[in-house]
Symmetry: C2
Subunit: 388 residues, 2 copies
């Protein structure tokens, strides 16, 4: 009953969303920062005045950050290969999501973000294209690009461009999960160095979460892909997963989600594919923490997780307590990267950002571990953490 009510209301939201998008004809639009109402305006904004700006920038290309959009712009780039939980649905279907991000960038961090969706899913081509279009932008937000391609693309672009590049599905998610976990562990009175954490999903988000938690010296981390727990003894691992196997699973165990969760302290679901049952949650240690982040349908609904004994439950959704969503992170990360002119968003900055988010809730509770994304302090606090 509960489930069908949820799904009905989800359908109702979908219908409303379709109607809104149709009526507005999308969400992204452009606005002029200078007036162009008469000839005098145009002489400065366009010819002949703009010639002086171009001439100056020809000699001083780095001043583009001061005289052009570059100082405040981010390209939100997707190849449509891993859109929300919907999979490889292509550039047109990805576009409303990128427009949504652009609108959030604007409203929450006053960043001018431009949606770019690509008709190619070739790694080398994507790298070449992003590099070629980079001059107008002060940052690159990669979005909804499938693993493992996303790792290679991000790593190469970080190396080859002199503006910050972040794959938000990885790092935005990892930052908010770490922030939420730091405070959830406070609520249950456990230390990160002592807990066993199970991450279901070894895609973009799962990989980045495992890495940031390993950097935080989490007690024991198990990561699962579709074949089960990632372990050094497995022979079917990609290079990225072999790296995960080295970073995690010190006891080199194998098995499925039920095996992994038994006796663990924290469950972080970021796959959408593997559902967690009440029995699995019941098999965890007491005072367990459950972050069921699949969108729109969590790996386990919060009420079920709570009734199965979880002490703190978070989801990716805004209609349950403890939303953990990269929307709480990316506006502030890029605001900081632009304001502080950082060339790379480092692991240290990400961990600092997570701590800064956690610090905004000094007395966390079961139903309040991280600030609401409408918390006015959030963007500024994260932005301050993103500096060299």
């Amino acid at each position: 009953m509960e489930k069908s009510v949820k799904s009905d209301s989800f359908n109702a939201i979908g219908k409303k969303a379709l109607a809104l998008h149709k009526k507005a004809r999308g969400k992204f639009s452009v606005a002029a920062k200078v007036p162009v109402k008469n000839r005098d305006d145009l002489k400065l904004a366009y010819t002949p005045g703009v010639g002086a700006v171009s001439t100056y920038l020809a000699k001083n290309p780095k001043a583009a950050r001061t005289y052009t959009m570059k100082g405040n712009s981010v390209a939100v780039i997707s190849d449509g290969s891993a859109v929300l939980g919907l999979g490889n649905i292509g550039p047109y279907a990805a576009l409303p999501v990128m427009e949504g991000k652009a609108v959030i960038f604007k409203e929450f961090a006053d960043i001018d973000a431009v949606p770019i969706v690509l008709s190619t899913q070739d790694t080398e081509e994507i790298i070449k294209i992003v590099k070629a279009i980079a001059p107008a932008f002060g940052g690159i937000n990669l979005e909804d690009i499938a693993a493992p391609r996303c790792f290679e693309i991000e790593a190469r672009l970080k190396k080859e461009l002199d503006i910050p590049v972040m794959h938000d599905d990885q790092h935005g998610t990892a930052i908010i999960v770490l922030a939420g976990l730091l405070n959830a562990l406070k609520v249950v009175g456990k230390k990160i160095s002592n807990v066993r954490i199970v991450i279901s999903g070894a895609g973009a988000a799962g990989t980045a979460i495992a890495k940031i938690l390993a950097a935080e010296h989490a007690g024991e981390i198990l990561v699962l892909d579709r074949q089960g727990i990632i372990a050094r003894r497995r022979t079917d691992l990609s290079p990225v997963k072999r790296e995960l196997a080295r970073l995690t699973n010190p006891r080199n165990v194998t098995g499925g989600l039920a095996d992994a969760l038994r006796g663990s302290d924290v469950f972080i679901g970021v796959s959408g594919a593997s559902l967690a049952t009440e029995a699995m949650i019941r098999s965890m240690n007491t005072k367990s923490v459950v972050f069921a982040l699949a969108n729109p349908i969590p790996e386990i609904m919060p009420d079920l997780a709570l009734s199965a004994g979880a002490a703190v439950v978070g989801t990716g959704r805004s209609d349950f307590p403890n939303q953990l969503n990269n929307s709480q992170v990316f506006p502030g990360v890029f605001r900081g990267a632009l304001d502080n002119r950082v060339k790379q968003i480092t692991d240290q900055m990400k961990r600092r950002a997570a701590r800064a988010i956690a610090s905004l809730v000094p007395k966390p509770s079961k139903t309040h571990i991280v600030p609401d994304m409408f918390d006015k302090r959030l963007v500024k606090t994260v932005a301050r953490a993103i500096k060299d």
Copy 2:
């Protein structure tokens, strides 16, 4: 004296333009078309509601024109190789110009145009990149790309994309020149089929102007490049110029600008390089028409052309009478292309647009041959001409 005053005021405009760009930090910004002020807004604009839009577009990609920015967006793309009259000054120096176009697109035609400047000048790479980023856009405005590369890029993209592609330096200029010429010839009482027209400059603009005038059965057309009059007997011609030689210069004459102008009726300057002297203008037929379109310094200043006997003089600048500038054209062309969902902007549409512009000045005079770019009728009138 006159000249130094002009150049001082030009410097003053340049200084003001630099100050304005610095203060505003560029001209392009983003605005949300839907509210994202609270959770309910976000549920529709972003997750979970946007998932319904993405799911719908995965099945119906063509509906992107209705549900996303694609229905009203244009990418303004340059490789920075032929910026204004400044030459190959690169992507950063090109960016203020592209932002200026984006701002004009918005203010004059309510089109959401995105500046894209490229760090490559390789023809094949540019074609590949523009094709790859096309899904988010309803049209492609190529800008300030050097000839002859611009011809190949435009031709290939027109063939390979299903959205309208226009190199504005070519066709925006050709349309406004034809419009201006039709009315200027009315003023001087000459017929286009009887006049001799000299076009100085065989780059993007000169080539497109020659073609549109040939299609209008202009009496005789001579086009000059840096080596002089383009003629079939010349052996140094590129393929594009060989085509021009076939379309123009029926008497197969050679020589320089002075030779070409002697006894001609119309001078159209679009090179910036070759200056016209008063003596040359004096050697033209009576009631001559002079369009000195180089920006910011015309091939000959209007007062000099008039004192040397020209009957009608136009420039590319807004501070002289008879401004002929692609800004009068491109907002309407793309407004029409988007509204009428045309897949290609054809030669017929361009000639129709020129006639439509000319028709807005039913009684042209020496100092008023085309509508001001602030004429409210202009965009609508041009837009109506751009349909299948």
